[in-house]
Symmetry: C2
Subunit: 386 residues, 2 copies
């Protein structure tokens, strides 16, 4: 018997409260019953995003919402800056070019955060930039980008700040309005603790004004139409009804358990415990200077194929972590610790990696990873009690 553990940066485990809500009989979406759930979800999403704008649910994965962000606010030929420091930065550039934008990539070493000065410099050197497209947390490199500092450059200008918050919204606090994010996107399968299939997107007043002028074609992802339906507690096209019910259950669960601030504290501690554990077992961090609290990337020792380690962990030991993507393929593992994750998910990940490293003949000493993590995690409970 292989009991399976999902310890990747996403999809993440779904709590049974959400699974049961999603397994309930499907409501019809043009009913007062659904409208009531929709309103609760709308309020919860506004809190989560830190915005007074409508947070529109889309029946799509996060990439759909990324594309919607571009096609609703920009026009063919528009010049945009793309922070490219990982696979998802590259995705912004691909989406932009697919729609005929002039995408200027700001190259960032994978595992590092963008330096806001690079962006300031690019804005000076490339006149007429209409938007900056970036990740808040670059899932492929486990690096955290300084969105707040980039927003200082765009906030009082005509430049839109378009942020992929897929592994940041719900991981740590996002204050969209206060910071000055113009388009914020997230997906259901990360900190929101649902299966993949739902995306959320919100636009600032500045972004809505841009949307009114944008001429890129869009039909399914027409956000102006989505906003009209949203005002009537619905969506333009058939909503992913069970996901909306699941999201209501998640918001209720989070509220019952101390609210999002408690979630953010937990994520910070789980991330810290994972980093300490990884370092204690002799691994190097992929993003030591700007680690995201969503996931921890670790380099595999010289001569060890990370893909083989990931396969051993998944197929033999039952623990699914993520390997590297793009140029990091075969070199790193990424350990997720968001959403329905706690103390013992970190312990399982670290002990499993130790066992795998031992299996592959490295000189790892068993128990050092969990020991370092235990020290950090125990503090969490002591603070709670104190």
């Amino acid at each position: 018997m292989l009991k399976r553990y999902l310890l990747a940066p996403g999809p993440t485990p779904v709590p049974h409260e959400a699974l049961l809500a999603m397994a309930a009989p499907v409501l019809h979406h043009r009913t007062p019953q659904f409208a009531e759930i929709f309103r609760k979800v709308a309020a919860g999403s506004r809190e989560l995003f830190g915005t007074r704008q409508p947070v529109l649910p889309l029946a799509s994965s996060g990439t759909g919402a990324m594309e919607a962000a571009v096609t609703n606010t920009l026009s063919a030929g528009d010049r945009v800056l793309v922070v490219s420091g990982g696979k998802f930065g590259e995705r912004w550039a691909e989406i932009a070019r697919t729609h005929g934008l002039d995408a200027i990539e700001i190259e960032v070493e994978w595992g590092c955060a963008v330096d806001p000065d690079q962006i300031a410099d690019a804005l000076r050197r490339h006149p007429g930039v209409r938007a900056v497209l970036m990740q808040h947390s670059e899932t492929s490199t486990t690096a955290l980008h300084p969105v707040e500092r980039v927003a200082e450059l765009t906030r009082d200008t005509d430049v839109l700040l378009i942020v992929d918050g897929i592994t940041s919204v719900g991981v740590f606090e996002t204050r969209m309005d206060e910071v000055g994010i113009d388009v914020l996107v997230t997906g259901s399968q990360k900190a929101i603790m649902l299966p993949p299939g739902l995306a959320l997107i919100a636009l600032s007043d500045k972004a809505w004004a841009a949307a009114a002028k944008s001429t890129l074609p869009r039909y399914y992802f027409d956000l102006a139409k989505a906003r009209e339906s949203f005002a009537e507690d619905s969506t333009a096209y058939t909503p992913a009804i069970s996901f909306i019910s699941g999201l209501e259950a998640v918001y209720r669960l989070v509220a019952e358990q101390g609210g999002w601030p408690a979630v953010y504290r937990r994520h910070a501690i789980l991330a810290e415990a994972t980093r300490r554990g990884a370092l204690a077992m002799g691994l190097r961090l992929l993003a030591p200077s700007a680690p995201s609290p969503a996931a921890t990337g670790v380099w595999m020792p010289e001569g060890i194929d990370a893909g083989e380690v990931a396969r051993y962990l998944r197929d033999v030991i039952g623990v699914t972590v993520a390997g590297g993507q793009g140029k990091l393929k075969g070199k790193i593992l990424r350990l997720g610790h968001i959403g329905y994750a706690d103390t013992f998910d970190v312990i399982v990940a670290l002990t499993a990696v130790e066992m795998a490293l031992k299996h592959f003949g490295t000189g790892v000493v068993m128990g050092r990873g969990p020991a370092a993590a235990q020290e950090v995690l125990l503090q969490m409970y002591q603070v709670q009690e104190g």
Copy 2:
């Protein structure tokens, strides 16, 4: 958020395959559809018990089946020997006395196995003994009793061997017919991986012959009546329908995953890993000379209240283990590792206990418990691969 881990010797976690089967719409029990499931379960239970006899399902907890074992095979005034080395041994004596039997208790130090010579001696000293009542695995002390050796004393005599197999059936191999167990009882909430609420019981030919002569009153637990209904793929009274469906799912799951021999190997390794981990963190075992593979009892260090540790583990850390019962209350913890349990349940239990011991100010060194367990557990995978 407190993610909850059920790491007690029972109830044990239920695999989702069984939960989903139990959540399916309830069948009517007087239908060919139910009869088909019933027959599959009957075949699976015979394999599990190692018997050609019908294994009768009862809608009760294990204690109901223990009482059925007594009331169906014995009569008021009958003399019985009871192996009393823990709370469940005491339960046999209580049941026997409730029904007017002359119960002679063979006292065994808690944490130890009965010496078969004690039983041989008692059988000599007390003529007319009709039955020996014992546990195979005494859940309260985590000790394993030598049922096979006791059976050598009773097999070719008129004395019935009545065995509580609640934490042995499905934990390790039971060969009821071959060993010569006359009545064997188990419950659903241990190695069978279902919620509590279903018991199974089987009688040898010798026990059925005794049943024909037994005069204790019984109605709900009338096993002769149950056997008649069993021949028609049903039960005498309304069966616990969802449990029968759940049991079918469990038998299918076990068959898909290498059969019961693979389960027994896993239990043995998880138990060994738990014992090594406990010793490595400086704890003394409760049953060092005869440890059951179902659960591992550990003494708490001097001055530490095991009840407080168990409460801290459960309420603060989210890990439910069992404390001591009866005279062991406050002194020990019992860590379960059967049923839907694997490598990382052992790791979670050991790391959680280390964290709790540190919290309570003992000199425990973090990581030693999991490290020792990891070494044992890794071997399991290497054997699987080899």
